[in-house]
């Protein structure tokens, strides 16, 4: 079966996000005064071909731990869907 893992990686709470701050300021300048914060992150779609949804989840979690997120500064979340 083919599965698609949709992974979002963001900086951990308390880790400084200069991109987010700069984008937040730019939005204020453009008149979006209601913006109280911006966080940046990364989005990945990882396609896998394995026997089960469970295994797809397990493998994708391993990929996140090993490569896609840097555990020192980042945390991640993901969903796995049945792919086409």
């Amino acid at each position: 079966m083919k599965y698609c893992g949709k992974i979002i990686v963001v900086l951990k709470e308390g880790v400084f996000d200069p991109q987010g701050v700069t984008i937040c300021n730019a939005l204020h300048t453009l008149g979006y005064g209601e913006v109280v914060g911006v966080k940046t992150g990364k989005f990945f779609e990882v396609m896998v071909e394995v026997e089960s949804l469970e295994l797809a989840r397990k493998r994708i979690q391993e990929m996140c731990d090993q490569l896609l997120a840097n555990p020192v500064i980042e945390r991640y979340s993901f969903e796995v869907e049945v792919g086409k």
């Binding site: 200069p18 991109q19 700069t22 984008i23 730019a26 300048t29 453009l30 940046t40």
Partner: protein, 236 residues
């Protein structure tokens, strides 16, 4: 005749451009602050290289909203000259003042090195002193200089002779070996259809003095300066 160099927060080649224009070329040159709207009577505005707003979000994406960019848009409509170098080129693309987009370099790295360029169009005010097909040596320094546009638009660009510079080898070889960033058809610099807006990834201001190893960039500035002299500022 007056040139202006725009300073965005994060510009870092602003002084280099200012130095070449004011000291090497001996031209009246003024600073233009990104929050200003007055272009102070400049005949040519230079958008310098660097990392405006840290390149955060996308290169040039935040700078395009600066107040000065509104004035520059108007200036362009009136036939003013704009030179965008490196990050300046990226800002011109984000603003839609030039067509296309710049993707991250093919190898995924920043690359700083001398490159050879072929001058593809010498019938522009920016390149009139080069000879047709001349190979020049000017350095690049960027991580997002991989020029891209849809095929049909590229054909249009070629037809209008808007491709001004291409990366090539020391003897003019235009092949993939001498493409430092994966740019479509080795494109290094393009102009607007009236040739008054030029955007280029290579840094002519880094190649304008003998002590730095090349003076080929100086010829670009000199081209425009002589054109402006002959055409008394040259506004339409």
């Amino acid at each position: 005749m007056r040139f202006g160099v725009v300073v965005f927060p994060g510009s870092n080649c602003d002084y280099d451009c200012y130095y070449v224009l004011s000291r090497v070329m001996q031209i009246d040159t003024v600073w233009l602050w990104h929050e200003d709207r007055d272009l102070r009577g400049c005949d040519c505005v230079v958008l310098p290289g660097g990392f405006s707003y840290g390149d955060y979000l996308r290169t040039g994406a935040i700078a395009r909203f600066s107040p000065i960019m509104a004035s520059i848009r108007k200036f362009v409509q009136e036939g003013g000259f704009v030179l965008g170098i490196c990050n300046g080129f990226q800002i011109l693309l984000e603003s839609g003042l030039l067509p296309g987009a710049l993707l991250p370099n093919r190898d995924g790295h920043f690359v700083c090195r001398y490159t050879y360029l072929k001058v593809e169009n010498t019938d522009t005010p920016f390149t009139r002193l080069f000879s047709p097909g001349e190979v020049i040596r000017i350095p690049i320094a960027h991580h997002q200089g991989n020029f891209f546009m849809p095929f049909a638009e590229l054909e249009e660009l070629k037809k209008n002779r808007q491709i001004v510079f291409r990366y090539c080898g020391p003897h003019g070889e235009e092949d993939e070996r001498f493409n430092p960033n994966g740019s479509l058809e080795n494109v290094a610099g393009i102009a607007s259809s009236d040739f008054r807006v030029l955007g280029m990834m290579p840094h002519p201001e880094r190649a304008s003095e003998a002590i730095l190893g090349s003076q080929d960039g100086k010829k670009l500035f000199l081209s425009l300066i002589t054109w402006l002299k002959e055409n008394q500022g040259g506004r339409n």
